[in-house]
Subunit: 244 residues, 2 copies
């Protein structure tokens, strides 16, 4: 009979994973109005965290993150960017990991690999909100969308990770690859402006925005579908570029 | 008598360092004409590599990089940016590390920590070329400035690391914090244009560049020092912002 593969908590020596290396992901989705991210809650702890994970010893770092995101979102073709490596000593708080393991019925020894120091590679992902039903992992009760402005208190330095991801996303906005991954295939100019406003957290001047977007050469405008009210319906656009 | 601290090669179990985690740094300097980077050559190997290193178990990641750069350049207040984490499995080539260790007189066992898989956090640094006399480390013969367009063949994926650092540097150019760290305190508009041209590897239109820079609010223009030829001397500028 094949043995069950031990889970992360049972693998007390980190066997199968690169010790000291974790990743955390800030998964952005756009509800049509608000920018949201996925947050996990650990069983019986009231501890909230970003979806994260570890890298198999024979696994590429980026693939490990894609695997984790697929497990939580069901999506396999996700737009993903590294944003920063969090490597300070002070982020090492073994008591928090210990509490999570204990709440799941484990009694980790002092030298359990999950209680050791980790650096975390932070990623952000942009996904189409409508396509996703978030799924918790084995140690978690829930994986849910939260508005960026009403996040629960997050463990460790996860609030800083969210902040850094948001900064990087804003910085990358000018490359105009961002909206593409957060919107449905066809959208109105207003939809696009709303994504930008949600990301930048400030109102944008409509005319300037429209001029900039139309001048970017990245949009394809579709012919209007005529119906009774057709003359009032806004144009629909899609992106001409390929997804990254 | 105090024992000598074992060096990286002697510490066969990586004791004192985080296993699996390295950093590599692309140290940019500007000669006044060319963009250059620091490259090390390992003893008796003809193997060339970026200056890199490891993170002490009680040391912040960013501090480890600053420590390594200080050892190689003597400078302690260096402008530093993370640019990417190289985490693919295929970058693991223990035979290269083995050759370097052997050329230094070590006979590493198969489970020597330096022969294990590492992910590498890539950084770029911007330093004032004139202030630096590069210094090799214990395993290296030399640490020298190389023109970006005549680099020797680099080990592992270090050529990709240089490329990524250059891309990130170019992307960050618009934040106009870059020239500040590559130029002496006072410089002419032409000096500044030459840094930008060296980084972008393309000529820039003088008038547009000047307008953009003057419009940025980041430059302070200094009064001309009058001498016999003063009416021909160009204005000198410095940056009004603080170094990061």
């Amino acid at each position: 009979m094949k043995k069950r593969t031990p889970n992360l908590a049972e693998q007390t020596d980190g066997h199968g994973y690169l010790v000291h290396i974790a990743y955390d992901s800030v998964v952005f989705g756009f509800s049509g109005e608000k920018l949201k991210i996925l947050v996990m809650e650990y069983h019986n702890t009231r501890l909230f965290a970003l979806p994260g994970g570890f890298v198999g010893i024979h696994e590429n770092l980026n693939d490990a993150v894609r695997r984790g995101l697929k497990e939580r979102t069901g999506l396999s073709d996700i737009y993903l960017e590294q944003c920063y490596v969090f490597g300070d000593v002070k982020r090492h708080k073994p008591e928090i990991l210990k509490a999570i393991l204990q709440a799941n019925g484990y009694k980790p020894k002092k030298d359990h690999w999950l209680l050791d120091r980790f650096i975390s590679v932070a990623y952000y992902a942009l996904i189409n909100y409508e396509l996703v039903t978030p799924r918790p992992d084995a140690l978690s009760d829930s994986c849910e969308w939260y508005d960026l402005d009403v996040l629960p208190e997050l463990i460790l330095d996860h609030a800083s990770i969210v902040q850094k991801a948001l900064e990087t996303l804003r910085k990358n906005l000018d490359e105009q690859i961002v909206g593409m991954n957060l919107l449905p295939e066809k959208f109105t100019m207003k939809d696009l402006q709303q994504v930008y406003e949600a990301i930048l957290d400030e109102p944008i001047h409509r005319t300037n925005f429209q001029r900039k977007m139309l001048g970017s050469g990245l949009l394809v405008r579709h012919a209007k579908q005529y119906s009774g009210k057709a003359h009032k319906a806004p144009y629909l656009y899609s992106f001409s570029g390929k997804k990254k």
